[in-house]
């Protein structure tokens, strides 16, 4: 049997290439996750304890991460300890340098004393007094800041100029900020300051309320566990996708084995004829599977390690602030990935190999032993599929009614399994329906595609998995997105609000705003400066009937009842002592009105009132604000800084609501594309599977193809026939997957989204779904390229003499 085993390895190993690739891709996926996970660990843990290395105690919030240190109490505590304490934390502040507004800037403390300092100098020197700052090297690089530059931090009365005296690296990610100033300087912006922890030398004394003291080691361990949990949950997410890829590769390998073994059924029968026992035959085939599994897992592990470290290096170059370190080899992950690959191969080959056992030695003696094994659909399988297809939707229905996630997952799982089991009946019928639209070569392709229902079903199943999940993600994201859009439209009705509280805006400014690229519409908003009881500073009171031309909520926020004044609670921030429902007196000059306070967000530091209310307050309202609607596709940061440049010289401020949209777009974009990218791996494996099935079928149909060529099928027609077969398979899988995926998205919407956002509506992204079908068809075409070329190479004469 040893000779037979080695000979069949030599002869058939090449036919396992696709299966090897499928397993290797899935294994590499697992290993890459492992390498990145350990890279993230080491990146996040490096220097975690650096700021506390010389401390005896670390004081932090007792209920962290749910609770933070109370900033004022923590500041007082730090002050009390003088040189024996150093705080870590940061304040997010607006900043300008070189005549430009900087992107989001965080400012943290840097100690004067060397033993509390954890930043590492890379050029210049450390700050010695207030008025001096160091900047993180990567932030400096991104924002074009050099030693010697001046940076204005803060706004209005709190604004201070600092001089950059050095650039530093910040090795401790949790304490990282874009710039560092001395502690007294930082206290200038104490209202914005959030503190993580305070390092203390000597006695702790009276702790601030809600705080606890730990040893530096205990503190580091606590943060470490937190980081690990975060990284671990990310790894679990990634492994979920790796699991999908593995499942798809199981389908591909199982199919490869059943096709290959069916083709060799005659050989096995012959072996049995000449005296090999069942056990010998099975063992030989199992060993073959093991060799395939070992090769594939080995290739996958090596590829995964290479890819993982490549990615770490790439991240290090492209995004140096992302804390990912070059980790040591995660041995456990590598062994795990290898074992999974081998196990998956063995499991997937189990059933096909069992079928070999049943072959009777007589099969070898029959003339023309049918290579074309017709796989009937078992009754058990059909019964099971029916049960699942009945109970699944029922479970989903209950899930939607009760908003139950567990039932939804169970229902979705059983519907999908039902469809997979039902495949051998369903898929050929769908193929026939679509194939009926095609010409003669197409009709042959259709017949070829359905001649072996189970093979066809398994081949499409692998693609079905990926497509179903992809369309579910696309539809789910679109629905979520549209409901969020409505909500954000209410929270940020004005894209950019330019407000000039002191001087009225000039027509010249309005004109220039109009001509700024990215501005679609801009309306002047009339108002007057008013004193409001309970507020120290005078505020702007405006009325804006024209708001509907620019507002994303159709101007609803600006339609205020005559007895009310609506203020932007976000723009006034902490300074706002007014609460909704308060009654206040609003005074302009010697006129006044008694109004009730209402709040909203998204139009800048101004109170909106009804036109008649403003008319009682002033006879001559002047334009004090410009509300701007950005054109679609405008770059929020660019538009913001362009408008800021117009606003700043005249003492006006801008409120950029567009940034919220941008970050939402980015976030949703990141979710969607990562999900699609990760699912893409499963789809690629499925396409390898289609190419593989087709390639192996081409081998077993060599004779038929030769005969068709002899009868007058041109090479082109033959190639087209095979391409059609692949496209039929992929399009049917995609259409079926799209229907199921959109269905799942609908169920998910009914279960989750309607609960969270009551007025959300289901959106189906027809365009994206169309693109998915198109891509699937093209990919099917691509999968057919190699098999079709191979098939077309055989000349009729040589093909006919094949045996």
């Amino acid at each position: 049997m040893r000779t037979v085993f080695l000979a069949s390895l030599r002869t058939h190993l090449r036919r396992y290439v696709a299966a090897v690739v499928a397993v290797a891709v899935a294994v590499a996926f697992v290993v890459v996750v492992g390498v990145l996970t350990s890279g993230a660990y080491s990146g996040l843990m490096d220097g975690l304890g650096a700021p506390y290395r010389n401390a005896d105690h670390v004081v932090s919030a007792a209920g962290w991460p749910s609770f933070e240190l109370d900033p004022e109490a923590a500041i007082a505590f730090t002050e009390r300890h003088g040189e024996n304490a150093a705080a870590t934390g940061r304040a997010t502040l607006p900043a300008r340098a070189n005549g430009r507004r900087l992107s989001e800037t965080t400012v943290g403390p840097i100690a004067i004393l060397e033993e509390w300092r954890w930043q590492e100098l890379s050029s210049g020197r450390f700050p010695a007094s207030t008025g001096e700052a160091v900047v993180d090297v990567y932030f400096a690089l991104a924002e074009n800041i050099a030693v010697g530059n001046r940076v204005r931090i803060g706004e209005g009365a709190a604004a201070r100029d600092v001089r950059v005296v050095g650039l530093v690296e910040s090795p401790s990610p949790p304490a990282q900020a874009s710039m560092y100033v001395t502690w007294p300087q930082l206290l200038r912006w104490r209202d914005h300051l959030h503190l993580n922890a305070v390092a203390v030398r000597g006695e702790v004394g009276q702790l601030p309320e809600g705080a606890k003291a730990q040893s530096p080691e205990g503190f580091a361990a606590e943060r470490l566990t937190y980081v690990q949990n975060r990284v671990n949950s990310l790894s679990v997410m990634l492994l979920l996708f790796a699991g999908i890829a593995l499942f798809v590769s199981v389908l591909v390998i199982a199919n490869t084995f059943s096709i290959l073994l069916a083709q060799r059924l005659r050989d096995f029968a012959l072996l049995r004829c000449v005296g090999a026992t069942r056990r010998q035959v099975v063992r030989s085939v199992r060993r073959e599977a093991a060799v395939v599994g070992v090769l594939a897992s080995l290739a996958g592990t090596l590829a995964g390690v290479g890819l993982g470290y490549g990615l770490i290096a790439l991240i290090g170059t492209l995004a140096p602030t992302v804390p990912v370190g070059a980790a040591e080899l995660p041995t456990l992950w590598l062994l795990g990935g290898f074992a999974i690959g081998l196990a998956v191969t063995m499991v997937a080959s189990w059933l096909p190999v069992r079928r070999v056992v049943r072959v009777s030695p007589l099969a070898a003696l029959r003339p023309d032993a049918a290579v074309d094994v017709h796989t009937a659909t078992g009754l058990v399988r059909l019964a099971l599929a029916t049960i699942l297809l009945v109970t699944g939707p029922a479970l989903l229905g209950v899930a939607m009614a009760q908003d139950s996630t567990a039932l939804m997952v169970a229902g979705g799982g059983s519907v999908f399994t039902g469809v997979l089991l039902f495949g051998p009946v369903l898929v050929p019928r769908l193929v026939r329906i679509i194939g009926a639209l095609l010409g003669p070569a197409g009709r042959l392709a259709t017949k070829n595609a359905v001649r072996n229902p189970r093979r066809t079903a398994t081949t499409t199943a692998s693609l079905l998995v990926g497509v179903t999940l992809t369309t579910a993600v696309l539809t789910g994201m679109t629905t979520w997105r549209s409901s969020l859009d409505e909500q954000i439209g209410r929270d940020h009705p004005i894209d950019v609000a330019l407000t000039s509280p002191k001087e009225p805006v000039t027509t010249d400014l309005l004109d220039r705003v109009h001509h700024t690229p990215g501005v679609e519409q801009a309306v002047p908003v009339g108002g007057a400066v008013a004193r409001v009881t309970g507020l120290d500073e005078p505020i702007l009171v405006v009325t804006a009937p024209a708001a509907m031309h620019v507002a994303r909520d159709g101007g609803a926020f600006a339609r205020v009842e005559p007895e009310k004044i609506r203020v932007d609670s976000e723009a006034f921030g902490k300074d706002l002592s007014l609460r909704p429902g308060d009654r206040v007196t609003v005074r302009v000059g010697d006129r006044q009105a008694r109004l009730q306070v209402a709040v909203g967000t998204g139009w800048g530091p101004a109170g909106v009132v009804a036109p008649e209310t403003l008319a009682t307050l002033t006879d001559a309202p002047e334009p004090h604000a410009i509300w701007i609607r950005a054109s679609s596709g405008a770059d929020p940061a660019r538009l913001g800084s362009d408008l800021d440049e117009l606003a700043d010289p005249v003492g006006a401020t801008i409120e950029n609501g567009l940034r919220t949209w941008e970050s939402l777009d980015q976030q949703l974009g990141i979710y969607t594309w990562s999900a699609l990218g990760l699912l893409g791996i499963a789809v690629v494996i499925a396409l390898i599977g289609i190419a593989n099935t087709l390639g192996l079928s081409v081998l077993e149909r060599a004779r038929e193809h030769a005969m068709l060529r002899a009868l007058g099928l041109t090479r082109r027609q033959l190639r087209r026939m095979l391409a059609t077969e692949a496209v039929l398979l992929s399009v049917v899988a995609t259409l079926l997957g799209t229907v199921i995926g959109v269905g799942f998205a609908w169920v998910g919407y009914e279960t989750f989204v309607t609960r969270a956002l009551s007025d959300a509506t289901m959106r189906v992204p027809w365009l994206s779904l169309g693109v998915v079908v198109l891509i699937a068809a093209l990919a099917g075409l691509l999968a057919a390229v190699l098999p079709a070329r191979r098939a077309a190479r055989t000349t009729p004469a040589t093909g006919l003499s094949l045996d």
Binding site: P367, D368, A370, D372, G439, P440, R443, L444, K447, N448, V450, R451, R703, E704, M707, L708, R709, A710, L711, G712, L713, T714, R715, R716, Q717, T795, P796, A797, L800, S801
Partner: protein, 228 residues
């Protein structure tokens, strides 16, 4: 040009070698042959005598190494692969040893296959011809069955019907009785002979069985790549 009108096909100085160096095999060593119209010719010879190669070259399944092949006035040497394919589709019919029907098509669909490949319209005349052929060959009641449900003799008769449906200039049969018992062989050979006599069909059969060759009008014997 009288020869081309009288001859369905002719070969002049035909050579063909396979392999290189020591492994070189001369399958054809200069064959001259004329196949008259409407006659049933058998090419005989032992295994390796070059008879199958000769047939492949005459049928446009393979290009000859040297010499010329003319079928229905067309010089096959001047055709590229696509032109050869279309030539086969229009001028040649085949019957193979191992029946070679497509397993997923019914007998009727298999017979119509050559018409479909040429994207010819399947008109009433074509359908009529299929039925006549099926009647003549005794498979009219089996047209809805798949090859696996037919006996070997029935499969081979379906294959003959398929070869005749395009009314080819030449019908090639490559060991058509190789897989059949003697009774069924006799039926099949009788059908081939009747196609020549009654339909005026030119038939060329490659065989190594003397009994089969006896059904032919002419017998050409080959040995070592030459006609003897």
């Amino acid at each position: 040009m009288t020869t081309t009108t009288r001859q369905a096909a002719s070969a002049r100085g035909l050579t063909k070698t396979y392999g290189r160096g020591d492994a070189q095999v001369h399958a054809l060593r200069g064959v001259d042959l004329d196949l008259p119209r409407g006659r049933f010719t058998a090419i005989m010879g032992p295994s390796g005598s070059g008879k199958s190669t000769l047939m492949h070259c005459l049928a446009g399944l393979d290009q000859a190494g040297g010499g010329t092949v003319t079928v229905a006035g067309i010089d096959l040497g001047s055709l590229d692969d696509d032109a050869l394919t279309i030539f086969r589709r229009e001028h040649v019919g085949f019957v193979f040893q191992s029946f070679n029907l497509l397993p997923m098509l019914t007998a009727g669909e298999n017979i119509m296959l050559p018409l479909e490949l040429g994207s010819r319209r399947i008109d009433d005349a074509a359908r009529e011809r299929v039925h006549t052929l099926a009647d003549t060959l005794g498979v009219a009641d089996r047209l809805g069955h798949r090859p696996a449900e037919l006996s070997g003799g029935q499969q081979q008769r379906v294959a003959i019907a398929r070869a005749l449906v395009t009314q080819p200039d030449l019908l090639f049969a490559d060991e058509p009785t190789g897989n059949l018992d003697s009774t069924t062989s006799a039926e099949v050979l009788d059908h081939l002979r009747r196609s020549a006599r009654e339909l005026g069909q030119t038939v060329v059969m490659v065989t190594h069985e003397r009994d089969a060759a006896a059904y032919a009008d002419d017998v050409v014997t080959m040995q070592d790549g030459r006609i003897v």
